[in-house]
């Protein structure tokens, strides 16, 4: 917990330093080449761009702790970064969680079928399916899904996203294709991993022992095999967090989901470093929180670590 917090602070500092090391003047980047020296000077003073880096970081971090991530310099209205992120974060979290649930559902089914039908046609199909899906770029898959399910069948909207706050059903409907595009390659990775773990668990002494007791196949698969394969599986999900959220950044652009990823990419185009920095730290926070959660779940699942 303390380690995670320290990691977040160091991570924020790294992002801060990285973005402040960018050559060129943030003020000129924001105001354009034609801005007069006076305006630039005023801008610099207003945004404390003349202070030493350490002082800038300190005041930024202090403000950040109170939820103030500074103002956006690119958007004319001068939106606060915090407001931009607060408005977009639920969408990102929704799509991310949606994708995760789909990936878990697909991989649990695929991995279990492949392992319990080891060496048979179902295994061959699931295993080849997995390696093909791992090879698909997620954003491209997004367009292919649009081509088939939106433009072809007309089942889902091709573009745009209903905020979960406005309509939960709408969010599930409009978020399905983006979530699926992220989920499919991830499901490939997870089901391969699950299959290997299950096959390994099948050979464990306690499974043979359970068979010798006369328990049924389904009972043994559920309580002995799957239950014990769960810990490495959940750990693997934690390791995928950076890829999943990375995928979210690009997929949000493909489907026009107004999430943190979209905000970040827009800010990057506008060279609005304050917003980029805020978004990066929020993404870091999500991954760190996910890992904390994964760690807690693993601890609960493994009696050797709880008791």
């Amino acid at each position: 917990m303390i380690g995670s917090f320290a990691m977040l602070v160091v991570g924020a500092a790294v992002v801060f330093l990285l973005l402040h090391a960018i050559p060129g003047d943030a003020a000129i980047a924001a105001l354009g080449d034609s801005a007069s020296p006076d305006v630039i000077a005023a801008f610099r003073a207003q945004h404390h761009l003349n202070d030493p880096l350490a002082v800038q970081f300190w005041s930024w971090a202090q403000a950040a702790l109170t939820g103030d991530l500074g103002q956006s310099i690119s958007l004319a209205g001068g939106f606060s970064t915090a407001a931009l992120i607060a408005g977009s974060l639920p969408n990102t979290l929704f799509v991310g969680a949606y994708a995760l649930i789909l990936a878990i559902a697909i991989s649990l089914a695929g991995g279990s079928i492949a392992a319990s039908r080891h060496g048979r046609i179902e295994d061959v199909l699931a295993t080849s399916g997995a390696i093909v899906t791992i090879s698909l770029p997620d954003f491209w898959l997004g367009y292919v899904l649009v081509l088939v399910f939106s433009l072809g069948f007309g089942w889902f909207p091709a573009y745009g996203f209903t905020r979960p706050g406005d309509s939960l059903a709408g969010a599930f409907h409009s978020g399905f294709l983006p979530a699926l595009a992220i989920a499919v390659p991830m499901a490939g990775i997870l089901s391969r991993m699950l299959r290997a773990t299950l096959l390994d668990t099948f050979r464990r002494a306690y499974v043979v022992s359970a068979h010798a007791m006369g328990f049924g196949r389904f009972f043994i698969f559920w309580h002995y095999v799957l239950r014990n394969a769960l810990i490495p599986y959940v750990t693997a999900i934690g390791l995928q967090a950076r890829y999943l959220l990375g995928g979210v950044v690009v997929i949000e652009r493909v489907f026009g989901v107004p999430g943190v990823g979209s905000v970040m990419v827009d800010a990057a185009f506008a060279r609005d470093y304050g917003v980029v920095q805020g978004c990066a730290v929020v993404f870091l926070l999500i991954v760190i929180a996910t890992n904390l959660l994964v760690d807690t779940i693993c601890r609960l699942l493994d009696p050797r670590r709880t008791a």
Binding site: G3, I134, W140, Y143, V248, F283
Partner: protein, 285 residues
């Protein structure tokens, strides 16, 4: 056990592994196709023909033409080369830096290990594209920056792998023997440990090569990576998405080509891992 002989057995298993053969076939046939198209294609990668804009796939243009009337197949072939080089460069750099950090960390342990690995964990906690995007802002857009971004994304993967493998190898008899004979740590790392951990690093490399292509494509796709007119696969897909509804073949076929190459790389990596697996297990047990 002499490391060299064990590796020889591994290469034999690798070459006779069906998965590896499938991957090899894909990669070799793709390389041959690239060569053939470069030699035989009547079009250049940036050769515009405004008389044949957005043509459907045909005999003259097997993958169709794009909005400038450029031949998509020719561009895919050139783009694949660009993307592969970018990804390859990134992985070489990331692999080198990550492996050095990981080996040093695993070999010496202690405070150095604790601090470096926390930093590596931090790096691993940034979503891939977020890390890449920040670096692109720092370095400016373009092929070289994309390579560096791929390297940065892959440093923690290699560092973690190299560290755990080195830590496991450190206590092996032949390493202890080398130490007792008074060999320098650098020499031990290079002569005794590296040959024994090279294979899993290679597996990571081949898997990373595929993902590097996806990362390049994704960055260029949102416009923050390789910049046109350089025909990287991502740039072409970004272009194709603009008229996706009118001419879906540009984006679709470019993507199929990307997936095809990555599939080949993944199969190769799988074959390599299969060949390595029994040995890995023997060493870890």
């Amino acid at each position: 056990m002499t490391p060299g002989r064990a590796t020889g057995g591994m290469w034999y298993t690798f070459l006779t592994n069906r998965v590896a053969q499938a991957g090899g076939t894909i990669i070799v046939s793709t390389l041959m196709a690239i060569l053939l198209v470069r030699l035989l294609s009547p079009y250049g990668p940036n050769e515009k023909d405004y008389m044949s804009i957005l043509h459907m796939p045909s005999l003259a243009h097997p993958f169709g033409t794009d909005s400038f009337g450029q031949d998509v197949l020719t561009r895919v072939v050139y783009g694949a080369q660009v993307s592969l080089i970018i990804s390859f460069g990134g992985l070489i750099l990331g692999g080198l830096v990550g492996s050095v950090i990981g080996m040093a960390s695993g070999f010496w342990g202690g405070v150095l290990d604790a601090i470096t690995m926390r930093f590596i964990d931090l790096l691993y906690s940034f979503p891939t594209y977020v890390l890449a995007l920040c670096l692109m802002l720092l370095l400016g857009y373009g092929s070289r920056s994309v390579s560096l971004a791929i390297a940065l994304v892959y440093v923690p993967n290699f560092a973690r792998l190299a560290r755990s493998m080195t830590a496991a190898t450190r206590t092996e008899n032949y390493v202890t023997a080398a130490r007792l004979m008074g060999q320098s740590p650098t020499r031990i790392l290079l002569r005794e440990i590296l040959p024994n951990i090279a294979a899993p690093l290679l597996v990571q490399f081949s898997a990373g090569l595929g993902f590097g292509i996806i990362l390049e494509a994704g960055l260029s796709f949102v416009g923050l990576g390789v910049q046109p007119p350089t025909p990287s696969l991502g740039v072409m897909m970004a272009d194709g998405k603009d008229y996706f509804q009118k001419a879906p073949w540009v984006l679709t076929l470019t993507g199929v080509s990307v997936a095809w190459i990555i599939l080949g790389l993944n199969l190769l990596g799988d074959g390599l891992r299969d060949a390595l697996d029994p040995q890995l297990r023997r060493r870890l047990s």
